[in-house]
């Protein structure tokens, strides 16, 4: 096991996949000469050259469309968004072209393309640049959505996303890029899409979450442990496809569920998953499922208000106590 940052893990995945398959190329703002806004593509220009590591103009709709065309022509593009907050400009290409191409062409065109970049809030980036965008992409059939929370998951899942023949929105976290963790040395370390991971084991309550929020959940689990409560922390890792079996397993085990997500509650990922749980495991619930989410407001700029608006370990502990009737 090597210790590396989330950023280094992504870089290794890109490098290995570009090495492995000459059809893979990277395109986005500042990805080449500047090594990427968050230095994820550091050194790739030197290794693979400007044909495969391409700086784009500041035109999200344009270069995303280029990527879709390249995928139709048989390449395997990785399109970097400086952040998914900027990708709203490009979402027509993602939803209306990439996600539907295989279906509308009656299978003539596959769409092996990855859209990647950070999602969610960092610190004081205000309302327009602090959004968790998972649900926009998971809403549309045809698009896969991956949200790695650790360096190992980042590496294994990005490699799987690049090899996948469907469009994948690969959503990272700005605050995660410096996060360090163990990554298997195996240079063909691939984590299949659609497999959740139990990040912490307990029998009293389940905290189901994904992406950056697994760290909030783990923090809450530690606090709860001091109180004698042991929590399952289930990291979904991919929102689509969803590992429903893993969800049902933890529901049947603990009977009490808290769903934690970084985004807003209304039609969030939790709304979907809670619905599926009650459809398939109603008889295993001991309490109504509680969601912990961002407050249903645009992210405030003021630091104190931003802290209040974001889901926190304290909120999770409160929710856990509620589902445990404590």
């Amino acid at each position: 096991m090597a210790i590396m940052t989330y950023r280094e893990a992504l870089n290794a995945a890109l490098s290995e996949e570009m090495e492995r398959d000459p059809d893979v190329f990277l395109m986005g703002e500042e990805v080449a000469e500047y090594d990427g806004a968050y230095k994820v593509s550091k050194g790739l220009l030197d290794t693979f050259g400007s044909q495969r590591v391409v700086d784009s103009p500041i035109s999200e709709l344009g270069f995303t469309g280029l990527g879709v065309g390249a995928a139709m022509a048989g390449l395997r593009p990785v399109i970097e968004f400086m952040t998914f907050n900027f990708a709203f400009l490009a979402i027509d290409q993602v939803i209306n072209s990439a996600a539907k191409m295989h279906y509308m062409s009656e299978g003539q065109f596959q769409m092996p393309i990855v859209f990647r970049g950070p999602t969610g809030a960092a610190l004081q980036l205000s309302a327009q640049h602090s959004q968790a965008c998972e649900t926009y992409y998971s809403h549309a059939p045809g698009c896969k959505v991956v949200t790695p929370g650790t360096p190992a998951d980042a590496k294994g899942l990005l490699k799987a996303a690049i090899r996948d023949n469907d469009p994948v929105a690969f959503m990272e976290g700005e605050l995660l890029y410096n996060f360090k963790g163990e990554v298997p040395d195996d240079d063909d370390f691939v984590i299949p899409l659609g497999v959740a991971d139990l990040k912490h084991e307990g029998e009293d309550v389940s905290i189901i979450t994904h992406g950056k929020m697994i760290h909030v959940a783990l923090q809450a689990a530690q606090k709860l442990e001091k109180d004698g409560i042991n929590a399952d922390v289930l990291d979904l890792r991919t929102i689509r496809p969803l590992d429903m079996n893993a969800i049902l397993e933890t529901v049947r085990k603990t009977n009490r569920i808290v769903y934690l997500e970084e985004g807003w509650p209304y039609a969030g990922t939790g709304a979907q998953i809670v619905t599926m749980i009650q459809e398939e495991a109603f008889d295993y619930l001991d309490a109504p499922i509680i969601r912990v989410t961002q407050a249903d407001v645009p992210m405030p700029y003021a630091k104190n208000l931003e802290i209040l608006a974001k889901p926190s370990a304290k909120h999770v502990v409160e929710a856990v106590n509620k589902v445990l009737y404590r």
């Binding site: 008889d283 295993y284 001991d286 309490a287 009737y325």
Partner: protein, 413 residues
């Protein structure tokens, strides 16, 4: 089920005054229904024939539930099953049959019927339980209706089932010790009437999960003191001494036998009224208090009660009580007289419905026949769970108790 009072949420069908097959005219009295306030007449809102009765006498249905069908004689009512279970109004039939409540804003004259499946109607009302609690109860063979829920609004949750299972399966730790086990001869469960349910619901909203009120009375203890003296002098040779508290316990047991509605417990959906009297006696221990129970106090003499209390209290202080020795009380007594306390209120130990707080005996000036005289007086205060005990019932019990203490020979009656 029509809303027959502004606050009615469900009604209990007392009796049908019409039978299936009877011809009904608008305004006919169909049935008597007990609401949260009174027994009311349920009146037909349309003409036709009473084709079907879903809710039998004694059953309870939520407002809006289908309890019967009035329709034309040859009309097809097969799709009005009423078996859908409370709440959802039945689908309006295309014709114009039916009758009874559930005002239809569109067609006021031909509204829909109400119904609650007969099976549900016989239950004591809806039991709130989490899905997994129901599932576990079924698997473990636990009767969920007998379990007091600890969740919000009395919801039975998983831990309640597990606790019930534990208490059922825990083997008696010391078979030799005479253990108290409830059997059907010791208590009866009374179905809670609509009025009792409403009293319970309102009071909980007002004051908390155990809506308590307090009744205080002064007792002249001169005769009880005499009685104690003569008992103790009779038994001096045997080295036995009884206390005033022992006499109080004996009197409480006797008074509870006469007022069984104070010797009762509140359970969700029913009140358990005990024939046997098991008195919990509050004992202060080093880090708190515990209430060992004098079982079958109504069958025991004062000296036996006294020696049991002494023995239980001793072991309580040494923390050597077995669980069965401090559970199962039907009523409790707490005495702080020895600390010079004049009067106080004690907190009910649920599911018991009452506890008596006993103050010390004090020489007190009182007016008797227009003269001020000094009498040994003791103030007792009973805390009552209002869901079970009403003011008049508690007062009558205290009257009896006061009578017994002021004339201890009454205990013998």
């Amino acid at each position: 089920m029509e809303a027959l009072s502004p606050t009615m949420e469900e009604g209990q069908l007392v009796q049908w005054l019409k039978n299936e097959g009877d011809t009904i005219a608008i305004g006919d009295v169909l049935a008597e229904v007990e609401t949260d306030k009174a027994t009311m007449e349920l009146v037909a809102r349309g003409d036709g024939v009473l084709r079907k009765i879903f809710l039998n006498a004694g059953g309870t249905a939520e407002v809006g539930a289908v309890i019967g069908v009035i329709a034309m004689e040859d009309e097809d009512i097969s799709d009005i099953s009423g078996a859908s279970g409370g709440g959802a109004p039945a689908a309006p039939s295309v014709e114009e049959p039916v009758s009874i409540p559930e005002p239809d804003p569109v067609k006021k004259t031909d509204p829909i019927v109400a119904a609650e499946p007969a099976a549900l109607a016989s239950e004591k009302g809806r039991i709130k339980a989490s899905p997994v609690a129901r599932r576990l109860a079924e698997q473990m063979g636990v009767d969920i209706s007998q379990i007091a829920g600890s969740g919000p609004g009395g919801r039975v949750v998983k831990r309640d089932i597990e606790a019930a299972k534990d208490s059922q399966s825990a083997p008696p730790s010391r078979p030799a010790a005479p253990t108290w086990a409830p059997d059907e001869t010791e208590y009866e469960d009374l179905q809670t009437s609509q009025m009792r349910k409403t009293i319970a619901k309102r009071l909980i909203t007002s004051i908390g999960p155990v809506p308590t009120f307090y009744l205080t009375v002064d007792v002249d203890m001169a005769r009880a003191i005499e009685a104690r003296k003569s008992i103790n002098s009779m038994l001096e040779s045997e080295g036995v001494k009884v206390s005033i508290n022992d006499i109080v316990l004996k009197a409480v047991a006797g008074a509870l036998r006469q007022h069984p509605n104070c010797n009762a417990q509140w359970h969700d959906g029913f009140i358990r009224r005990f024939r046997a009297v098991h008195i919990g006696v509050a004992v202060a221990v080093e880090d708190g208090l515990i209430t060992p129970v004098v079982k079958h106090a109504h069958l025991k003499g004062i000296t036996q009660i006294g020696s049991e209390v002494k023995e239980l209290a001793g072991r309580a202080r040494d923390k050597k009580l077995m669980p069965e020795e401090y559970t199962g009380a039907t009523f409790s007594v707490s005495n702080l007289g020895m600390f010079g306390i004049h009067e106080f209120t004690a907190i009910i130990n649920p599911p018991e419905a009452g506890i008596l707080a006993v103050g010390g005996i004090e020489q007190t000036p009182v007016v008797e026949d227009g003269e001020v005289v000094v009498r040994p007086r003791m103030r007792i205060t009973m805390s009552c769970d209002h869901r079970v005990i009403d003011g008049a019932q508690g007062s009558r019990f205290l009257q009896t108790l006061k009578g017994m203490l002021e004339e201890p020979t009454a205990i013998l009656l």
